[in-house]
Amino acid sequence: MNGHARNMLWQAHRTQPTAMVLLTLILLAMNEFGNGTAQCIEKSCSKNLHKGIKLSKFVKRATAELIKTYQAAQGNFAEQFCTMSMDSMPSSTLWGSSPAERLQSAYIRLTELLPHVTMVLQQQSDLNPYLGSLLSDLARLVIHGRHLALRLSCILQKLQPNVALPEPAVGPTALLPPQNIFQQKVYGCAVLTRVQKLTLLTARELKSLRGQCTDKT
């Protein structure tokens, strides 16, 4: 049987550092999303919806645990970091009059926020490359976030086959002003908090779409 492989990550037989593997995967995933060529293997709308609900809940729980890990790694005054807000990132609010429109806004928000999670991963890796589980968890969040975005796009393709998905913004993090360490710590917690809230709203919108898939598979 013929197959195809894009964005292949070649792994040697020996074990590689986890963080390097994850970073590589993230770059590949981002590239793929940037091209808009990701495909939906699952063709059923209802199954996509079912998996999307589960995945959004999973990402929400994972983000909540990650915030605790992040705070624990920031040292003193970590609780105060997460109470401060920053404007240099997308909000987590949704817009639209119909569930499909709001789901589309969720997709856009997620694709806009995930590069900021990657930025947090890079900043934390620069601050302390031996943080271990925090970096791995941040990298996993990006991967699962990409999976969720893909799942949302597949659902929207089924619900609105004639509506083109908007292109995610190119390099929003490039517009970030330079930040000191304190600002980076605040920035990191603000990004994770918005991701957690966004995935909660996404799960609700997906649940409201349960009866709208017409296929029975």
């Binding site: 994850l22 999303f33 495909q39 990298a139 893909l150």
Partner: protein
């Protein structure tokens, strides 16, 4: 705990042995990226997916390449959970329990965020033959299980494995061995009497145990059985009850009475040790063992009264032969019977007729109240005689031909009444006192309800309403005089009397006619007395009018009609 991001793929190289230049490439594709691993002359490869792609579709295949070309294996496409192989259950322990020589408890802890189902196998230490617990018994999300049918005082080894509860994915590896020894067998089941032939019959009550079997080994009796089939029982059965009957050698044939399980031969006869107003204390004899034909499981009591629906009390313990029925209807007839049941059937005993009692306490209380009431009335009337209320009088017409019944009237002769009740039919006619009346006259109970009817048996608190009481305190105050009665001709002009419907006794002033005469001119609303008027030779009768006369308390009098006063009595046409 997370699922590992490492995906390992195994394959069979095929019929032809690969040469040294053959390489294998493992592809694992999770949209939108793929991870690839490469190795020469291998039959397995592992790729690091970075993170387990939960809830995402995963495609896996292997490419084989040598100098002549390449070929791909079949693609495995499924959700990522379908590629998961859990770790074995953790903390698996085998726990013996005191007094349970034939069982051990297996405990473990869930070690995965996915719901799993388990598989347990065990064997005696040193044996290579494993006994596997049916998977249906461990399908639930449980963390313990009891092994049974084990040998007492024996070492056992147990292992466990698990898989996704939906049955997708792969079984885990078997857990490391857990070892324990079963307790020593209890001596209570043993018999050390070789001279006695013991017959045992096992009954596991209500648990539905299966494949019950027993054997005798080395002077010891062994009994084993299987738990009820069906996983639902495992969550509800918490104990077994073992019962047996020993039969002396001479009664060996008793075994034949139970060649097969049968319903009892007969039911018990029930009797009441005590009956109350709403309660039966029931008792019945225990059915002889030979008639039980199996261990009794319960008694059921049926009871019914009248046409009501039959009631029952079931699942009574077979060890008790008594029961108390409550909330019954008082003063009622009940049909009661007891049904005995064993595992094979039921049989009713003979019916018994039982009666609940009346409210005796209430009757006694009322009787006491009656006595007190009567005594109080006698005392009261003696010291505080009742003064009649004139407002209770009415005018009525009375004709001797019409048996008009006048309420609450009674006639009683003064001096002859010694407290006897006039509620007697034979006292309706009483002779008049000669010094009071001009001729012999027959008095009759004019409409006196108590005298014309059977005596009352109830007690009333109303003095005036109770004719017996009233009767007990009244005096004769009227009489009916018939013209030509028995050929007698009144020598004197018949007095005129008025009559009222009042039952009130006469006032004392009525003893003096002059007083009464004056009083008669003035009608009062009180009770009047009955006056007699007899007209000689009167052929026509006027209706009797009640003439108002001042009422005398106890002494009846005859008065002359005042001049101009309308006669108030219509003499009888025929002799009375």
């Amino acid at each position: 705990k997370r699922v590992s991001p490492n995906l390992t793929c195994h394959w069979d190289p095929g019929e032809h042995a690969p040469d040294s230049n053959t390489s294998y490439i493992l592809y694992a594709h999770v949209e939108p990226y793929s991870v690839v691993s490469y190795k020469k002359l291998a039959n397995n490869l592992t790729v690091d997916l970075g993170s387990f792609p939960i809830y995402m579709e995963t495609k896996v295949w292997v490419e084989v390449k040598n100098e002549l070309g390449s070929v791909n294996s079949t693609e495995l496409l499924a959700h990522a959970e379908c590629f998961v192989k859990p770790n074995p259950p953790s903390n698996v322990m085998l726990i013996p329990e005191a007094n349970f020589s034939m069982s051990l408890i297996v405990n473990w802890t869930h070690s995965f965020y996915l719901k799993l189902k388990y598989n347990i196998r065990y064997c005696q230490a040193g044996s290579s033959v494993w006994n596997e617990v049916p998977q249906s018994a461990t399908e639930s999300y449980i963390e313990s299980f009891r092994l049974q049918f084990l040998q007492p005082y024996t070492d056992y080894v147990v292992q466990m494995r698990c898989i996704n509860q939906k049955g997708i994915g792969y079984w885990s590896d078997w857990s490391p061995n857990a070892t324990a020894r079963t307790p020593e067998a209890s001596k209570s089941l043993l018999t050390n009497h070789p001279d006695l032939i013991m017959w045992f019959y096992l009954s596991v009550l209500r648990a539905g145990a299966e494949q019950v079997r027993w054997s005798v080994r080395d002077g010891q009796l062994w009994v084993d059985w299987l738990p009820p089939s069906g996983s639902k029982w495992l969550l509800r059965v918490f104990e077994y009850v073992l019962e047996w009957v020993s039969v002396p050698e001479g009664k060996r044939d008793c075994r034949k009475s139970w060649p097969k399980k049968k319903s009892p031969l007969r039911g018990p006869s029930v009797e009441a040790t005590e009956t109350q107003k709403t309660v039966f204390h029931l008792k019945w004899e225990e059915i002889p063992v030979t008639s039980q034909r199996g261990f009794l499981t319960n008694y059921t009591i049926f009871y019914k009264t009248g046409d009501n629906e039959q009631c029952k009390r079931n699942w009574l313990s077979p060890t008790k032969c008594y029961f108390t029925l409550t909330e019954l209807a008082s003063a009622s007839r009940y049909v009661v019977c007891v049904m005995a049941s064993n595992m094979e059937g039921s049989v009713n005993g003979s019916e018994s007729i039982l009666y609940t009692k009346y409210g005796m306490y209430f009757v006694k209380c009322n009787t006491t109240q009656l006595y007190l009431h009567l005594a109080f009335s006698v005392i009261k009337n003696h010291f505080w005689p009742h003064i009649p209320n004139p407002s209770h009088s009415t005018i009525a017409n009375w004709s001797p031909d019409c048996p008009t019944r006048l309420p609450d009237l009674s006639i009683m002769e003064v001096g002859m009444f010694d407290g006897k009740s006039l509620c007697e039919e034979d006292k309706t006619v009483l002779p008049l006192k000669k010094d009071k009346y001009f001729s012999e006259e027959h008095s009759s109970g004019i409409g006196g309800s108590s005298c014309m009817s059977s005596p009352r048996q109830s007690v009333s608190d109303n003095d005036e309403g109770d004719s017996c009481q009233t009767t007990a305190s009244t005096m004769q105050y009227s009489s009916v005089v018939a013209s030509g009665y028995k050929g007698q001709t009144p020598s004197l002009q018949a007095p005129v009397f008025a009559r009222s419907e009042s039952t009130q006794p006469l006032l004392e002033s009525e003893e003096h006619p002059e007083h009464l005469l004056e009083g008669s001119r003035h009608w009062t609303s009180g009770q009047g007395i009955e006056q007699q008027q007899m007209q000689e030779g009167k052929s026509s009768y006027n209706s009797l009018n009640f003439c108002p006369v001042a009422k005398k308390k106890y002494t009846p009098t005859l008065t002359e009609d005042p001049p101009g006063l309308t006669p108030c009595y219509m003499p009888q046409q025929s002799g009375h």
